[in-house]
Amino acid sequence: MVRSSDGPDDELGDSDDEALSWAGDEEQGRAAPRLGSTSDEVVPAAEPAPSEPPGSRRRSVVTGALVVPYLAITVGWILAVQQLSSGSVSIFTEVLWQFGEFLAMLAAPAWFAATLSLTRDSRPLVRLGWLALGLAVLVPWPVILRLLAALQTAGGAS
């Protein structure tokens, strides 16, 4: 209908073209079949949507920077519980003391993990604030006070 066939070899191709063309396409400037494009053009894929929400990079930097202080605090508490003793003969008090020591060692990693988990959708400043508060609250005072006492003793001896 669209093209005239010149020979028997073209009959199959022409019938395909006819099946993909409509009457009046030539008048509308559509000489080629509507389907079966012969061009090998690769259509560029759409830009992938950014997978990270805005501000997440800054949040990651904040989080990464505070990993080391939290690790230091955890080590501090592990050292602190070696120095502490309940001094009690009561089994109940002793068990409670051990439970408390276990939780004290766990406090810094738990605070860090909870902050990361609960401030997932918050602004970086909010996360930074909670992490900084954790550093202030969970200072391993037993180790620091022991260290200060040792320094004072060393200073007094020299």
Binding site: W77, A80, G100, A107, L118, W141, P142, R146
Partner: protein, 101 residues
């Protein structure tokens, strides 16, 4: 969901046992050693107030959150409570005046 706050209320009550015991026993011990004037009342009271304050804060912070998140907040508060208690214990030992017979 009242279960999580109730379970942690029991655990925080356990965290109060040692500070209360200290408040009752330490003045007598100090008096026995002749340093009764040096009882660190502020630290003893702070040690009792800390678990209570942290429990209330955890209760408020966890409000409206799913049970796991509430339990997480309570766990952190309980752990911080014990850590602060050990800090008070170390402070009391550090500021204790020398005992002379």
């Amino acid at each position: 969901m009242i279960v999580v706050p109730l379970v942690f209320a029991v655990l925080f009550a356990l965290a109060l046992v040692m500070p209360v015991s200290d408040l009752l026993a330490l003045p007598e011990v100090y008096a026995f050693y002749g340093i009764g004037d040096a009882v660190p009342w502020a630290v003893l009271v702070a040690a009792i107030a800390t678990p209570v304050v942290l429990y209330v804060l955890a209760l408020l912070l966890g409000r409206g959150r799913p049970p796991f998140a509430r339990a997480l907040v309570f766990t952190v508060a309980l752990a911080a409570s014990f850590a602060l208690y050990f800090g008070y214990v170390a402070l009391v030992a550090a500021i204790q005046p020398p005992i002379t017979f």
